[in-house]
Symmetry: C2
């Protein structure tokens, strides 16, 4: 089955005109007489004429659609970001085409290739947690594809980037722990080569140092699957909580990691914050209602999506090659709640 739409040719035939006349009448050209225009416009309206976007795309060499590559749609942060992207795209007349990498490097490459070959005008992407080599992105970039990197940004310069101040976010979260009396603070982070991981772990260690707390490498954990696999977190937690010098606080640097830590503690009857404090990066709307209510670092996901989409569309519609690439860094919010409340003096 197929959806048959009326074309300019149909209108031309019906009114005994040429396609060029109809086209011009529809675009309100001065070369067409008012009477003809009226006839054409009326007929077009009556028959619900819409220009075929595919024909237009072929002619204009642009598709008015942008691709979005994220690791997982069903994730609060990314779905909020896509929400922002969609809202901008809608305003500017662009389609949003979605692809997921599922945090798999090979799938990221194929998805990116797929989006590019589907002739999108540009791509917004956040790299997978397995990605340490950016040559596939570089290659696409060199071939002239409009790209904007967001959240988990790439490490080369000539590209727009939109991210949050991960360093500061982790620094503040760690400092918050310290101020509340925690001293043995562990950090469970994403894959080690991710930009966000480096920055967050950097902020965490800097805060410790600034408060004269020794950084213990055994208290820094990395997970390749970013918490998508529960066992990964369970193993780390088991390892962390069964050392003689076990941590009294945990900084979880992603949504999934945070949830998994919480679930592990509940299963193992580890009291939060009594036995171990918890601060997590999370964009879930429900964290204030958790038991205990969770101290979270919240990212402005919707805003990131909007800004990234605006930068991309501006770049697409720019006549000349862009030389000045923006590196937008947004602030996070630390919501202080029960899971990291002040420690009772021993």
């Amino acid at each position: 089955m197929r959806f048959e739409a009326i074309t300019i040719k149909d209108i031309a035939k019906a009114l005994g005109l040429s396609t060029s006349t109809v086209s011009r009448a529809l675009r309100d050209s001065y070369e067409i007489s008012p009477e003809t225009k009226e006839k054409v416009l009326l007929y077009a309206k009556e028959n619900n004429y819409r220009p075929n976007p595919i024909a237009l795309s072929l002619k204009e060499k642009r598709s008015s659609s942008i691709g979005v590559l994220v690791c997982e749609i069903a994730n609060s942060f990314f779905s909020q970001a896509i929400n922002g992207i969609e809202s901008v795209a809608q305003e500017k007349g662009y389609n949003v085409i979605i692809a997921q990498s599922k945090d798999d490097f090979e799938k990221e490459i194929s998805s990116l290739q797929y989006l590019a070959s589907r002739s999108v005008d540009g791509i917004l992407f956040s790299v997978s947690s397995e990605t340490s080599d950016f040559s596939h992105v570089q290659h696409l970039h060199q071939r002239g594809m409009n790209l904007v990197s967001f959240d988990r940004v790439v490490d080369f310069a000539d590209i727009h980037k939109v991210s949050v101040d991960n360093y500061k976010a982790a620094y503040e979260a760690t400092t918050h722990f310290i101020k509340n009396g925690y001293t043995k603070i562990a950090c469970i982070a994403n894959a080690s080569y991710l930009s966000i991981t480096k920055e967050r772990v950097g902020g965490y260690t800097a805060a410790l140092k600034d408060h004269n707390i020794a950084v213990n490498p055994d208290n820094i954990f990395f997970c390749l699957h970013g918490g998508l696999v529960y066992e990964e977190i369970a193993d780390i937690m088991f390892q962390a909580m069964n050392t003689k010098n076990k941590p009294d606080a945990i900084l979880a640097t992603s949504d999934k990691i945070t949830t998994s830590v919480l679930r592990y503690c509940q299963q193992q009857n580890i009291a939060i914050p009594k036995q171990v404090g918890l601060v997590g990066f999370s964009n879930v709307e429900l964290t204030d209602l958790l038991a205990p209510s969770l101290t979270v670092v919240k990212q402005p996901a919707y805003e990131m999506g909007r800004i990234a989409a605006e930068l991309l569309i501006k770049q697409i519609e720019s006549k000349r090659q862009i030389k000045d690439f923006e590196d937008v860094v947004l602030a996070t919010e630390l919501h202080q709640r029960a899971s990291s409340e002040k420690k009772a003096k021993p």
Copy 2:
């Protein structure tokens, strides 16, 4: 800036052949000599040739893309459903184009119109909570657009539908309340004309009747915005909890309503389940970690997305007009947890 791709014409020029020969060589036609084929294939591979999908779409009158219209992407249920849709689409070589209605009737109409005019091959949609009149969908359907209705389905027959057994889900949830000793069970539902609302309220009232509990119309509430506006729920809760015969349990029939009720109770210091029991429809992954852990009706969102996408693509690729429309109804899961635990005998 634009992404310049190599075309068949470029290959033809480079090798001194005609475009038709190149085209046939690439499609491995018997009319082309092995030597020519090899030359063409090699050159195409070296220069990373990809057929232009837009040109193909124009020729084939199909775009290999499907539209998805949901009320809100940043919603657990819908993002999980989109996840399922994307996975099927990816397997079958289709793009997924996203649009949001934001539960606004006018935006639903324009988004649907937009998707149709962007020449998608078909549309998966869940109507907005404001939608009581389906004529815009009917109209699109009559014009031959491939449509599959999911979750909040339409009320006419000749269309594929994928939903859950809302009646049974609400019946079971209500029965669960009754078995645990609750008798004054209120129901806070979505907009009254939504299919899912009718079915859920139907299941709720049927369960009450089957257990010889009088149905009190004052205990059934409808919200037009489906909980997207917090005040809507706050008002309903205030009204419900300030009558002389106030409910001892609440059945919340959507994700947002559930969360809002929970938040209201926390703010007003209403103890769950002591003062009022709560069961909610929710697909959030964290409900077991809430305070108290929440009894939920969970929908197979991913599965729904997959099935709906499969039906749509099958319909798109079917040669003849489809006469037999499926009405797939999936089962929900009731996760019994603390928020609805057995009432202490008074």
